[in-house]
Symmetry: C2
Subunit: 211 residues, 2 copies
């Protein structure tokens, strides 16, 4: 069989996880990190970005999922360059630059799992990253979201569609790549049909197989 030893044989130190809302990707990443005995970055990453930029964790979380409606308040406040001075970065830019710097530092320092925040793109030049996308069917995601966050006034399908749209627009804004297409990743796992446990095992096994 054809081998590309230069890529295939580089030991992996980092797993980046991109995931659909409600896919369980966060939990899968957390348990994989525990199993592998490596660090897990999600809230810890937000804390570091908050420390670096002075913005609150909530605001940082929101900027990564701002409304796709171009006339929304948040969009205009943090993203829309036309309403800004143009001579300096928007708050969203400031956050993105800080998170890119922090993610690169973390990757340099230690083996870890990093969830979201364009980490697959930010670390795209490193050969020691395993980039994973976790997704599921709508029924499974709805079930998981209701279990975790409960009901709201908004129908669950709308909550899912909005969140997907926000993640897509944020990702493509900063990476110039479409979000959630296989070609960005080494591996895409359907947590709905495979189940979370099997996803964790596959992640752990494939990570170790590079050793």
């Amino acid at each position: 069989m054809k081998q590309r030893s230069e890529v295939e044989n580089v030991k992996k130190r980092i797993i980046t996880i991109s995931r659909e809302f409600g896919s369980g990707g966060h939990r899968i990443g957390e348990i994989a990190a525990e199993t592998l005995g490596i660090s897990f970055y999600d809230q810890k990453l937000l804390e570091k970005i908050a420390e670096e930029t002075g913005f609150t964790k909530d605001f940082i979380e929101e900027t990564a999922e701002y409304s796709t409606a171009k006339n929304s308040l948040l969009f205009n406040l943090v993203i829309n360059r036309s309403l800004n001075d143009c001579t300096e970065p928007t708050p969203a830019d400031t956050i993105y630059f800080a998170q890119a710097k922090i993610i690169k530092e973390i990757a340099e320092k230690e083996a870890c799992v990093i969830v979201g925040r364009c980490s697959d793109y930010i670390l795209r030049d490193r050969k020691d990253c395993l980039n994973v996308f976790i997704y599921s069917d709508e029924e499974d995601r709805a079930h998981r979201i209701l279990e975790r966050y409960g009901k709201t006034d908004k129908p669950i399908q709308k909550r899912i569609a909005d969140k997907d749209a926000r993640r897509k627009i944020y990702y493509s804004h900063y990476t110039d790549r479409p979000w959630g297409v296989p070609q960005n990743y080494d591996l895409c796992l359907n947590s709905g049909s495979l189940g979370e446990e099997r996803c964790v095992k596959m992640l752990v096994d494939v990570f170790k197989s590079f050793e």
Copy 2:
């Protein structure tokens, strides 16, 4: 962790492989089938469709990858309903209906790996299928294509783009789904970064994990 036992615990008997041209998906499927000791359907499937429809294997292969140019001879001959009588299926339809029937019969009869021909869609109601998409980066695909088929007058990037476009249009014509999006599959593997051997091992391991 959340379990959906009704989906996750159904034993798998069939692997369907959709793949990008030059991704090595065909070979990965073949070796996985060998390793698992189950049948492998690609040429054998074409032979059965040829037998059923009376069309040649070459013609059948071509209809699955006809030109996207709507004014191409092949498109008009086999696909374009407006040039046909509309009261009966086009040759491409006849082939598709025959392949759907044959693929369903095969799936009923034996454990196997089936490559291409919308088999993931045709068998979408079966819970014992593992649907896999295999893809790779352009450099890796170009390398594999040149190794296997050699150079032609057409630049390699154009050959890849044409073939991708053809598979996409064929798939969405008959399935009404976009081609190559993760949501159609249980698992998507990047053969360029993971390597073919690792892809085979992952396929075999995950298939067995349902036992």
